[in-house]
Amino acid sequence: MNEQETAQEGLARLEGMPGGARAALEAVLMVIDEPATAEELAAGLSVTVAVVEDLLHDLQREYSGYTVKAPDVDAVGFADASTAPRGFELRNVAGGWRIYSRSDFAEIVGRFVLEGQTTRLTQAALETLAVIAYRQPVSRARVSAIRGVNVDSVVRTLTQRGLIEDSGNDPESGAVLYRTTSYFLERMGIGSVAELPQLSPHLPGLEGIDEYYDASRM
């Protein structure tokens, strides 16, 4: 009750400011340097999560104008003004919201932002990353068995790139287990590993593979 009132008061106060709650939210989005969850944003603005989520979707639609084709903007048809898309977009990745430059302008923006330009991953690194993403938490030995080669140096590179991390030790073997990081989700533009493409269409009739695998596990 009390909290509800505070949230209402908060909203009322924000609406009294130039640009209203929408502009206040934008102001906060300007200073975050990693994705912020709707909960964090709501707490910062002293409004409810529901209000913030509405505002976030409004902004997302507004920034994308009418021409957007992004699959995550499902409600774009409800945009109520005919505006050109902005040069930036608001995206929900790795569980949080953040502003990105629009990919159409990648080439131009790239001339200004040298850092962060990451070199492409090698085929070996991509395959190792794929196995870790789908089998996490997983030991090096197991990834190695799936790929058929030693993956030590590739795992080191992926750790250094911040795409995977140590997630403790296997209670049985004591081997270090690896998992993907939230930076990986960010780089993939997805909210969680559950959003990764399904593996099964690529694995015809292999229901028992894991048992096979555990039997031959090193």
């Binding site: 990919s103 790929r147 780089r187």
Partner: protein
């Protein structure tokens, strides 16, 4: 880098030079190249060979692939490439499995009774399963690569905090002395134990431990002022050898009259106190007699 091979004596050039994902198909010339980088492992190679022959990998007809695979391995041997041991042995395992499969194919159909035959068929199934699994991950890797590339076209806003906001941040609590900070740096700069790229031999010989180094470490800690128990001093010792070295080092330091011991009763906690008034004490005054004893192979440690 592609090690060049001698002209192939066989008419049928191994598939490896022109596998589907080889990218640049080699122009036919007397010599040809095996680009090891084309394949990220034996499964990859095997898949390459299979798709070259447009075979369903669930089909048993692997004889041709087996031949080519073995041929490929031979070429690598001839090259004298310094293959990492595990990689070479992986190739061997697969080559052996393929040979088994070839043998299994020679068995009359429907007459699989022998336990050995069944084992062979199971090995075949296992290999197929692993190959299929690898193939799936390879496809997924392709999708990941495309997604990462597409996503890299979006740049996140991640600007430094505006000055007036940065000024709001609470003052940092800082309790590190320069010495503690240096210790932190030493830990951070120490090369991380590189993952073994070869079979470890560390268990065969205990790594050398220097009494002098251990004396330095304890001298540093004790000079901070507070008396420390021997238990505390050896809390981070990784091996018994280090514990022994530290104990010997303390005896040496006692002889140098820079430390004092306190033990209320036998087997009770042993407390060590720094008593040296010479802040410049260093381990060089230690006698050399232990050095020889504790460091049998006084060479490089196996750090790199």
């Amino acid at each position: 880098m592609g090690p060049s091979l001698a002209p192939a004596s066989e008419a049928d050039v191994p598939a490896t030079g022109e596998a589907p994902d080889a990218g640049t198909s080699e122009a036919r010339k007397p010599g040809f190249e095996v680009r090891l980088a084309n394949f990220t492992g034996p499964f990859d190679l095997l898949l390459g060979l299979i798709s070259k022959h447009k075979m369903d990998i669930t089909e048993v007809a692997l004889a041709t692939v087996t031949d080519e695979f073995i041929k490929y391995i031979r070429r690598l041997q001839e090259l004298g490439e310094d293959w990492a041991l595990d990689e070479a042995s992986e190739f061997l395992v697969i080559a052996a499995t393929l040979l088994d499969l070839k043998a299994a194919r020679l068995l009359p159909a429907g007459e699989v009774e022998d336990a050995e035959d069944i084992a062979l068929l199971e090995a075949r199934d296992l290999l197929f399963a692993r190959l299929l699994q690898y193939k799936a991950f390879k496809q997924i890797a392709g999708i990941l690569g495309e997604t990462l590339e597409e996503e890299a076209r979006r740049y996140p806003r991640q600007v430094a905090l505006e000055g007036h906001f940065a000024a709001l941040l609470p003052e940092l609590v800082w309790r590190h002395t320069p010495e503690q900070f240096a210790e932190l740096a030493a830990t951070a700069l120490k090369p991380k134990d590189a993952a073994p790229a070869e079979v470890g031999l560390g268990h065969l010989h205990a790594p050398p431990v220097s009494v002098k180094e251990q004396a330095e470490i304890m001298g540093y800690r004790l000079k901070l002022g507070a008396p420390l128990s021997f238990r505390t001093l050896i809390a981070d010792a990784e091996t018994t050898l280090v514990v022994v070295a530290r104990f010997l080092a303390l005896l040496e330091m006692f002889r140098d009259r820079v430390v004092a011991f306190e033990q209320p009763e036998p087997l009770a906690e042993l407390t060590v106190r720094w008593t040296g008034d010479d802040a410049e004490w260093d381990s060089s005054s230690l006698s050399e007699e232990y050095e020889a004893g504790m460091e049998p192979n006084n060479g490089e440690s196996s750090n790199e």
